[in-house]
C-alpha cells in the first residue's frame, strides 16, 4: 500500500488521564520522522490547530462515560478510515471502570457538592462497546515502542507485531528470574497480554496486569495459586481490579472471589 499524500492522523481523548497521548509526545527522537510521514491533523494535547476530517487514522484514548461521549465517538468513527484504541481506558474501561462494580449515584452524591450538575452513564465502557474498532493497543499507559510499531506498520501496509501471548514469554526471553516461583510474589504475568517487555518483573515486582487479559487467560487457575501463596479473597479481588478491572476475564475472576 503506498499512500501518496501524507496520511492524516487524529488523536482523540475521552475519559482518561492523558498518559497514553503523552507516550506519543514522549517519542522525542522519532517525532520528526512521524511528522515527516503523517499529517497530524487533530491533537489538542500538542497543538490547538485543528484540521477537519476525514482522517486516515484515529488514535482514541479514554473510555466512554457520558451520553455526549457516545455521540462523539460515533462521529469520530464515521470520520476515520482506521480507528485504533490506545490504552486500558479505551480498550477496557480503565481504572474508572471500578465504579461499574457499584452504584454510580452513590459515588456522585458522596463526591460532588452539587450532584444535580453531574450527568454520567452508570458505567465506564470501552470504545469497542460503542463502535467497531480496527486495532487495540494495550497498556496503562501504552508503550511508545508499540505505538511506533503500529504507526510504522500502518504506513508500510504490514501487520503490526503486537503479540497477544503472556507477559511470561517476554519475561523469560529477558532471562528474568520468575518472582512468583523464586519469591512467592503474586504475578499476573501468566494471564496478561504481552507488550511491556515484562517491565515489572524486571524490577522485581509482580505484573499488575496493566495490559489486560492475554489471548487465553486461565484466571481461575492463577487465582487458586495466589490463594496458595497466601492471598486472601479480598486481595485476589483487588489484584484483578485495577486498570483492566472491567475486561471480562478479569471482571469475572474478581466477581467470583467477591461472593
Amino acid at each position: 500500500m503506498t499512500i501518496k499524500r501524507k496520511p492524516k492522523l487524529a488523536i482523540w481523548k475521552f475519559a482518561s488521564c492523558d498518559g497514553c497521548q503523552l507516550s506519543l509526545l514522549d517519542c522525542e527522537d522519532e517525532l520528526l520522522a512521524i511528522t515527516n510521514r503523517v499529517d497530524i491533523a487533530y491533537f489538542l494535547e500538542a497543538t490547538s490547530t485543528v484540521r477537519k476530517g476525514p482522517y486516515d487514522i484515529s488514535l482514541v484514548e479514554g473510555s466512554i462515560t457520558t451520553q455526549h461521549d457516545v455521540k462523539r465517538i460515533q462521529k469520530i468513527r464515521q470520520n476515520s478510515k482506521l480507528l485504533v484504541t490506545i490504552g486500558a481506558c479505551a480498550t477496557a474501561g480503565g481504572i474508572q471502570a471500578l465504579r461499574n462494580f457499584k452504584n454510580v449515584n452513590d459515588f456522585i452524591s458522596l463526591v460532588y457538592a452539587k450532584p444535580q450538575y453531574i450527568e454520567t452513564l452508570d458505567k465506564s465502557t470501552p470504545i469497542a462497546n460503542h463502535v467497531p474498532v480496527d486495532y487495540e493497543l494495550r497498556g496503562c499507559p501504552i508503550n511508545k515502542r508499540q505505538l511506533l510499531e503500529v504507526l510504522s506498520a500502518f504506513l508500510h501496509g504490514r501487520k503490526p507485531n503486537t503479540p497477544s501471548y503472556s507477559v511470561c514469554i517476554e519475561c523469560k526471553r529477558r532471562f528474568n528470574v520468575c518472582v512468583m516461583v523464586s519469591c512467592g510474589i503474586p504475578c499476573l504475568g501468566p494471564v496478561t497480554h504481552a507488550g511491556c517487555n515484562a517491565i515489572c518483573p524486571s524490577y522485581h515486582r509482580g505484573c499488575y496486569g496493566c495490559y489486560g487479559p492475554m489471548e487465553t487467560p486461565n484466571t481461575t487457575s492463577l487465582s487458586s495459586q495466589f490463594s496458595q501463596l497466601g492471598l486472601d479473597k479480598d486481595n485476589i479481588v483487588r489484584t484483578f481490579r485495577t486498570f483492566n478491572a472491567y475486561a471480562e476475564p478479569f471482571r469475572k475472576e474478581s466477581e467470583a472471589y467477591e461472593k
Partner: protein, 392 residues
C-alpha cells in the same frame, strides 16, 4: 611443571585453591567463560571472571512451582542443581536479528551482520544439560539444513562438566538415562569433594584440549581411593532423586491416549503461559517478526523464542488449530516424550525438572504421565477382570 601428562579417561586431582587457574587458562585461550553465579533470587548462568563469581556456599531448594536459594555453612562451588537458565541461553539466543536491509530506490540491499562470537567455555554443566545440548545439536544441525547461527555458537565450545553432588526436588534425569553421572560430551568433568577441611575436585579428562588445559595448572593423578570417593558422590545423588518417569512404551502410551480425560484435567490447571517451554533446555521453537521503521528505509527480521502454548503458533488462515488449552498442553507433552522420538530418534526430555519447578502452577510432567499410565492400566486390568468374570 613435572606432572605426568594426562590421557583421556584418566582422573586427576585439582585442589579448589587452583580453580582460578583453570578459569584463567580458559580466559587466556580467548574463551568467554560462563557458568553459575548468584543472580537475584536464583543461581543463574552468566559471565564468570573469577572463582568468586561462583555461588560459593549457596544451594537451592526446588519443588513444583517453587525455587528458593539458601546459604549454607560451607564453601562448595557447585552444591546446587539446575536453575531457571539453561545453556541454550548462549547457543540459541532468545532474540536474534537475522538480517537487516536498506531501501535502494525501488529495490533493497541486505546489510549482513558479520556475527562475531567469542567461543564459550561452559562451567558446571550437568549431565542432563549435556544431553540437552546434544539433542539441540540434532535439531539445529542434524538435518539437511543446518542453522548457521547455532553452529557458529556451538562449534568449539569448551565444556567443564560437574557431577551433581545433590539432586534437586524436581530432577528425574535417571529415568531419562541422562544422569546424574556425566558420561560423555565433556572436555573435563569434575566431582566436588569437601572433606575434613579439604576442598578439591576429582577431574576426569574427556578430551585432549581438556588435558592440555589441566596440564598447565598444578594437579596430581588420582589414586583409587579418590576415584572411589567420586563414585560415591554420584551414587548418593542418584539415591536422592525422588521423582521418576516410567518411559516403557511411552510413545504408544501417549499415542493411544489422545482422548484421555487427564488432558482436560491438565488444561484446567494450565495457564498456557509457556514458561515450561521457555525454560526447557531442548525446546527449540521460534517465531519471526519483520519490522520496518517509520521512514520505510530500513527493515529487519528478528527471530524470537516461541512456544506451542501460543495461539499464533498453530495459526493458519482463519484460525488457530490448537485453540484449546487441552490441545496445547497435549502437543507440548506428546512432543517432548513421543513425537520427538519419531522426529529425532531420542526423547525430547532429559529429566532436568525445570518445567516442573518453573511452572507457576506446579504442573508436573511426571505426574501427568503416571496419571495417564495408571488409568490405562486400570482399563487393561478391568478388561482382564471382565474376561475372568465371564469365564467363571
Amino acid at each position: 611443571m613435572t606432572a605426568p601428562s594426562l590421557k583421556i579417561r584418566e582422573t586427576a586431582i585439582l585442589e579448589s585453591t587452583h580453580f582460578q587457574k583453570l578459569l584463567d587458562g580458559l580466559i587466556k585461550r580467548g574463551y568467554q567463560v560462563v557458568g553459575p553465579t548468584l543472580g537475584e533470587d536464583a543461581i543463574v548462568y552468566d559471565e564468570l571472571k573469577s572463582v568468586t563469581d561462583l555461588p560459593i556456599g549457596y544451594t537451592d531448594e526446588q519443588e513444583g512451582g517453587k525455587y528458593r536459594i539458601k546459604k549454607q555453612n560451607d564453601k562448595a562451588f557447585f552444591n546446587h542443581t539446575v536453575g531457571p537458565h539453561s545453556w541454550k541461553k548462549f547457543l540459541f539466543p532468545s532474540e536474534l536479528r537475522m538480517w537487516k536491509a536498506k531501501r535502494n530506490g525501488n529495490t533493497f540491499r541486505f546489510l549482513t551482520d558479520n556475527e562475531k562470537i567469542k567461543k564459550f567455555a561452559f562451567i558446571g554443566v550437568r549431565s542432563c544439560d549435556i544431553h540437552a545440548i546434544f539433542i539441540q545439536d540434532k535439531v539445529f544441525t542434524g538435518g539437511k539444513f543446518a542453522d548457521p547461527h547455532y553452529k557458529l555458537r556451538r562449534e568449539g565450545i569448551f565444556i567443564l562438566a560437574v557431577n551433581c553432588g545433590k539432586a534437586g526436588g524436581t530432577c528425574f534425569c535417571a529415568s531419562m538415562n541422562a544422569g546424574p553421572k556425566v558420561s560423555s560430551g565433556f572436555d573435563l568433568a569434575l566431582t566436588e569433594i569437601l572433606k575434613n577441611d579439604r576442598h578439591y575436585f576429582i577431574v576426569e579428562i574427556g578430551t585432549e584440549l581438556g588435558a592440555g588445559i589441566l596440564h598447565e595448572i598444578p594437579y596430581k593423578i588420582a589414586n583409587d581411593e579418590e576415584k572411589y570417593a567420586a563414585d560415591i558422590v554420584v551414587k548418593k545423588t542418584a539415591e536422592q532423586i525422588c521423582k521418576s518417569m516410567d518411559t516403557a512404551n511411552i510413545k504408544d502410551l501417549l499415542y493411544k491416549n489422545y482422548e484421555h480425560p487427564r488432558w482436560d484435567d491438565a488444561a484446567k490447571r494450565c495457564l498456557t503461559c509457556a514458561n515450561c517451554t521457555m525454560v526447557c533446555p531442548t525446546c527449540f521453537c521460534t517465531t519471526v517478526e519483520d519490522v520496518t521503521d517509520l521512514t520505510g528505509e530500513h527493515a529487519e527480521r528478528w527471530r524470537k523464542w516461541d512456544s506451542c502454548f501460543t495461539m499464533d503458533f498453530s495459526y493458519i488462515h482463519g484460525g488457530s488449530i490448537r485453540s484449546s488449552a487441552k490441545s496445547r498442553y497435549r502437543q507440548w507433552m506428546t512432543h517432548k516424550l513421543a513425537t520427538w522420538i519419531d522426529q529425532f530418534g531420542t526423547s525430547g526430555c532429559v529429566g532436568c525438572g525445570r518445567c516442573i519447578t518453573w511452572c507457576p502452577v506446579a504442573i508436573d510432567i511426571t505426574e501427568e504421565v503416571s496419571a495417564i499410565r495408571e488409568s490405562e492400566q486400570t482399563t487393561e486390568k478391568k478388561t482382564t477382570e471382565g474376561l475372568e468374570e465371564q469365564r467363571s
